[in-house]
Amino acid sequence: MENNSNFETRKPPVATTGILGWCRQHLFSNWINSFITLLVIYFLYQLIPWFLDWSVFSADFWTNYKGELIVDRTFCSRVADPEGDHGACWAIIIVRFYQFMYGFYPSEQVWRVNLTYFLLVVALLPLLIEKIPGRKHLIKFTIAFPIVAFILLYGGFGFQIIPTNKWGGLLVTLVLGVFGIAIAFPLGILLALGRRSQLPVISMFCTLFIEFIRGVPLITLLFFGMVMLPLFLPEGLNLDGLVRVLVAVTLFQAAYMAEVIRGGLQAIPRGQYEAAQSVGLSYWQMNRKIILPQAIRISIPSIVNTSIGLFKDTTLVIIIGLLDLLGIGRGALADATWMGLSNEVYVFVALVFFIFTFSMSRYSLYLEKKLKTGINMGAD
């Protein structure tokens, strides 16, 4: 022991610790890496200042370079002064922000949409935060949320009815995304269980359904919902256009969700089933208490992945004439007052989508860390 004090503990070489060490290890470990690093830095150096300049520093927000309030495209600096060095003209987004968010929802009723958004957050809380007080009661609300949201948004029960052709923008995107995912998730679990069922009729039906839906593109299903579904309904019975689209989106998502969850189910060792059965649990008890919690935990990354995919796929509804966020953007471009400002519109729409999908993926990362989904089954 005493001997040791004569020696100074030597620090590790500078080149292997701290920022320098990290850079050396990760960015410049060999000449190919160094080359790629430099290339990327060069591109970022070119791109980021240019983009910041375009989108912020030389951009118009409410007023143009002369200080005038922008009321149409001709006031935009880059239109009014094409020779000058002007950036984006965000006035189109600012002036039409309401439309981008709510579509044509009557402004005196828009508190209903805002309330729905707020309740959506409340409904998500017990799913997002495990240790929230009163979680059991909140979960009940979460389950009831789709019905509450439907009444709030559409009307009835004393609320003025707002037909869905007045809905638009982010509202339609979120309705399709949230309802699509919320209904598809339980449906997907049932389909996954059904496909693995011992009962041949059920398993065949589920397999057929999943394979059929997965075998056709979403756009085909959307056309099916739009064009063919009315033919199957009795004369005079008209399903609302948004509902028909929602049916198509939900079925599509359910089929993919089923396969994701089936993947999770496959990973559960046989012993888990046998153990559950040996303590006398019924089929549903076994799945609810033992199998599904584990299977879903393993599938979280894939579930979030397909959900993000669906959320982005909702933009396809433009093809059948629903004005979602992207559709409202295109509508704005079709107005002679704002035409030609497509860069601004598409960048804005992309940004909104990015905010939602990026939050979803960050949340799934957090969940994975918390639940340690990367566990090595059987090693402990």
Binding site: K166, N238, L239, G241, I319, G331, A332, A336, T337
Partner: protein, 334 residues
């Protein structure tokens, strides 16, 4: 699943009585009109979320004729693919969506075109620097063309008939065509002439682009309704005709009140001062007055939405009255 079904059940509309469309519309209290998801000058939402445009005005005219209030109309957005099923299923009462009147659509799809509100035709737009003043001089040009449209077929026909070659650059949307053309990736963009004007209006310097005089197809665009309900077809037809006749007679939204004291018999018939023409359509006798007062006559609508003073800057040309060298012609109001 049960929850799902109950939601559908609530959303599903009740069985509607099998009455005529006009009665349905009157009972409902507003008109349901199908328009595009957005086409410059023809239909687009303004900043306040109100639809405006040349096609939208036809919807508003019908609403004014029925209710005396041009705002009693709800718009359903349709695309090229969804427009016909939407009309056929009864989701909308009429479609005013720059739709070309063709035999198969009129007959096979079971629709009735009630008239033409815009005579369009396929044309070509090129950079003026190309120095070509006739489409036959476009041999070997790269053409931006929307795939899966009749314009694609017309293009092939035109070049084959003139014995010249071209290279197609397939594109999907108007926006894409514009970007490709402005970036010089194609020399020519071909679509309906109204669409070319819209594209040209969006250029940084519109003078650098020319729309060639060649028109290689007939595209009569007009409102349509479902087959079989002739009374309803008549209402839409005569709402459109009213706008054209009003222009012929020089009656506009600004002088319509004074015109009630006119000494021209047809003006008096049109405005419902004489004769019971509105009643024949099961409308009020001043239906035409309401249309002109609230929406305006054909030229007012044209100038407001697509005319020379708008960014589109489309001239009347074929759409001028028959008395002014165009082919716009409405049957007499008597």
């Amino acid at each position: 699943m049960k929850k799902l079904l109950s939601i559908f059940a609530v959303l599903a509309f009740a069985f509607s009585a099998n009455a005529g469309t006009l009665d349905d519309v009157k009972n409902r209290g507003f008109l349901k009109c199908g328009v595009t998801t957005g086409l410059i000058g023809f239909a687009a939402p303004d900043d306040a979320g109100n639809w405006a445009g040349f096609d939208v005005d036809v919807c508003r005219a019908v609403a004014a004729a029925i209710f005396g209030d041009s705002s009693k109309v709800e718009f359903t957005t349709t695309t090229g693919k969804s427009r016909f099923p939407t009309l056929a299923s009864g989701e909308i009462d009429m479609l005013a969506r720059n739709t070309t009147w063709t035999l198969s659509r009129d007959v096979n799809l079971g629709f009735e075109f009630v008239g033409v509100n815009y005579y369009d035709g396929q044309g070509f737009m090129i950079p003026s620097a190309l120095g070509v003043d006739d489409a036959t001089g476009l041999d070997g040009a790269t053409v931006c063309i929307q795939t899966g449209t009749t314009t694609e077929l017309n293009l092939a026909d035109f070049f084959r008939a003139n014995g010249i070659g071209y290279e197609a650059l397939p594109i999907e949307t108007n926006d894409e065509a514009r970007e490709n053309l402005f970036a010089g990736r194609c020399d020519v963009y071909t679509t309906d002439a109204s669409g070319l004007s819209a594209t040209r209006a969006q250029a940084d310097d519109p003078d650098k682009w020319v729309v060639l005089p060649n028109i290689i197809s007939k595209e009569p665009l007009g409102p349509l309704v479902r087959h079989g309900d002739h009374q309803w077809g008549d209402v839409v037809r005569w709402s459109l005709n009213t706008m054209i006749i009003a222009e012929e007679l020089g009656v506009s939204s600004s002088n319509v009140d004074d015109s009630k004291g006119s000494n021209v018999p047809e003006v008096l018939r049109l405005l419902g001062v004489e004769g019971g023409y509105g009643e024949m359509l099961e409308l009020s006798n001043d239906f035409a007055y309401n249309i002109i007062k609230q929406v305006g006559n054909y030229s007012e609508s044209f100038d407001r939405n697509i005319g020379p003073d708008t960014p589109l800057g489309i001239g009347r040309n074929l759409n001028a009255l028959w008395t002014d060298g165009g082919i716009l012609y409405a049957p007499p109001f008597r």
